[in-house]
């Protein structure tokens, strides 16, 4: 797992994808931070993060699209899957590498609440809790992207498919309105963005939501392992 993790992390920085992802996310965090907090003087950094969520919908597919698809296309998966390591080790290594990349802009954004605090009233607790929730949400996005990438050899299909899946998660609550009550009561439990809203708008540490995020991330990592295993037996 360590070998895969180190290789993946390095490859994100030799192929520019890592830099691009970090640059885009940081750039948009900066823009919204400047507009919301510095220009209009909103005290909460958390509301800024809600705006940045849309950026992740586009940026995460770029980060995850090649993770599994490219291995399969260039047949390097034959090296990984015939080495004396487990499939879950390979998947975990890759996932953690992408989560590490995601963590970098998150760590940088930790400065923003401090800037607000230095210039007036701030809500540090709520802001840092929101950054944490936002990071977990990104982890779910990355897991979904990795899973979709494991289903195809084409990076383009992986990217477009991931974007569609993430957009669906983003629109989840609004989509529920169109379903009959019976369905929306059940599916509404998976209400995705509302978890972040609870953190950001109501300053609530939504434990149920954190559990939901962790469960979804774990589920998609597990499904990725299963997708790779299944391909063996086809």
């Amino acid at each position: 797992m360590r070998a895969v993790y180190k290789r993946e992390l390095r490859s994100y920085f030799t192929s520019m994808t890592g830099y691009l992802f970090i640059a885009v996310v940081v750039f948009f965090i900066g823009i919204y931070f400047m507009a919301n907090n510095l220009y209009y003087g909103a005290p909460g950094f958390s509301t800024t993060l809600v705006n940045v969520m849309v950026v992740l919908l586009v940026a995460v597919p770029v980060l995850t699209m090649r993770s599994m698809a490219e291995e399969r296309r260039s047949r390097t998966d034959q090296l990984l899957l015939t080495a004396p390591v487990s499939v879950s080790g390979v998947v975990a290594g890759k996932y953690l590498a992408m989560v590490t990349i995601l963590a970098i802009p998150m760590l940088l954004s930790c400065i923003c609440p401090l800037i607000i605090a230095a210039n007036g009233t701030s809500q540090l607790m709520s802001d840092y809790a929101s950054i944490f929730a936002f990071f977990l949400m990104g982890c779910v996005f990355v897991a979904v992207g990795m899973f979709i990438s494991a289903l195809t050899e084409s990076q383009i299909i992986a990217a477009v498919g991931t974007f569609a899946a993430l957009l669906t998660l983003y629109l989840w609550d609004s989509l529920m309105q169109f379903l009959p009550d019976v369905l929306s009561n059940v599916l509404g439990l998976f209400s995705f963005s509302s978890v972040l809203y609870n953190f950001a708008y109501y300053s609530v540490f939504d434990v149920r939501g954190v559990v939901l995020y962790l469960t979804l991330a774990g589920l998609f990592v597990f499904l990725t392992v299963q997708a790779l295993q299944k391909r063996r037996w086809n």
């Binding site: 990984l80 015939t82 080495a83 037996w233």
Partner: protein, 328 residues
């Protein structure tokens, strides 16, 4: 070392590997020979644990590939048909990564990488990006990767495909050298290659093993079917009719290319020497016998015959009986 038991791999309705069984013994070079699409790569992918079999099992040193994959895989170095290279890494970086993946201890890693690079003559491209290497060098990086961790068994899938003649000779010499320390299994659809490099040959066709043994054994197994090349002063149907009626004659096949008014046939014998009988038959029919010479079976004939799709296969050794006899 490797025992393959009753392996079957189906893709939907297509059967790629059909009840394949064989044993690989230590210290020899094995050649998988078969036309394209015979199931060689699939078999190798199953032996290395990349694919799972539909039925059957693979044992490496007694460890089952299905139940104890990590122990089994540790004993195998594999070069797939397309070398599994990360082109954005340098040769050294890549090999260090592969060494870590193969659980070479951290302290031994750089020494191990150096050893395989010397072995495969990669030292002068060590710092170059794999993307920029020629096909021959890429293949060598792939072989170097397979040798990391000093596995007992090295499996190479078509190691010389796409190389120029000089590179082919180099890779073959390398394979022969590897055979001193490892058990090597390679696949090829080129007969000359297998003949040049391998101690034992397994011929695979439509996912089945059609013959197995050393080059000499395979040729000897067919010695029973001696064949003659006969040239007659007659047209094709007449000549064929005449030769078919010779007592003891087996398959008669027309060989194009004879001069006008003449025809050449290959006649297989079912029992004994046919030369005298052919002479007498020609004399009785008053047909001039222009040429008569023995046409022995070379390994190439064996291969072509075994992998031909039309009949005449029943007389030939089937499904590695030879192999089992030796194992007992």
């Amino acid at each position: 070392m490797i025992e393959v038991r009753d392996l079957v791999k189906r893709y939907g309705r297509h059967t790629a590997v059909d009840h394949l069984s064989f044993t690989v013994e230590q210290g020899q070079v094995y050649g998988f020979l078969g036309p394209n699409g015979a199931g060689k790569s699939t078999t190798m992918n199953i032996m290395t644990g990349y694919l799972g079999p539909t039925e059957g099992e693979v044992l490496v040193d007694g460890y089952s590939m299905a139940d104890e994959p990590e122990k089994a895989r540790r004993r195998i170095g594999y070069l797939p048909e397309q070398p599994p290279l990360y082109v954005d890494m340098t040769v050294t970086e890549y090999l260090l990564f592969a060494a870590e993946l193969k659980k070479v201890p951290a302290r031994a890693r750089s020494g191990e990488v150096k050893r395989v690079m010397e072995r495969t003559m990669l030292a002068d491209v060590a710092g170059r990006l794999i993307r920029n290497l020629s096909k021959g060098y890429k293949q060598r990086v792939g072989i170097a990767q397979a040798l990391l961790g000093n596995p007992e068994i090295v499996i190479l899938d078509e190691p010389t495909v796409g190389l120029d003649p000089k590179q082919i000779i180099e890779i073959r010499a390398l394979i022969r050298a590897l055979a001193k320390e490892h058990t090597v299994i390679l696949s090829s659809h080129i007969l000359a290659e297998v003949q040049a490099v391998c101690d034992r040959i397994l011929i695979i066709h439509h996912g089945k093993m059609v013959a197995a043994g050393t080059t000499e054994e395979l040729e000897r197994q067919l010695a029973g079917t001696t064949a003659l090349e006969v040239t007659l002063k007659a047209d094709e149907p007449a000549g064929r009719n005449l030769l078919r009626r010779v007592p003891g004659a087996g398959a008669v096949s027309y060989r194009p290319g004879a001069a006008e008014g003449e025809s050449t046939f290959r006649v297989e014998s079912r029992r004994g020497d046919l030369r005298e009988k052919i002479f007498q038959a020609c004399a009785a029919e008053n047909v001039a016998l222009l040429g008569l010479r023995s046409a022995g079976m070379t390994l190439e004939d064996v291969f072509l015959k075994l992998t031909a799709d039309d009949g005449a296969r029943e007389e030939l050794p089937v499904s590695g009986r030879e192999e089992e006899d030796e194992a007992e």
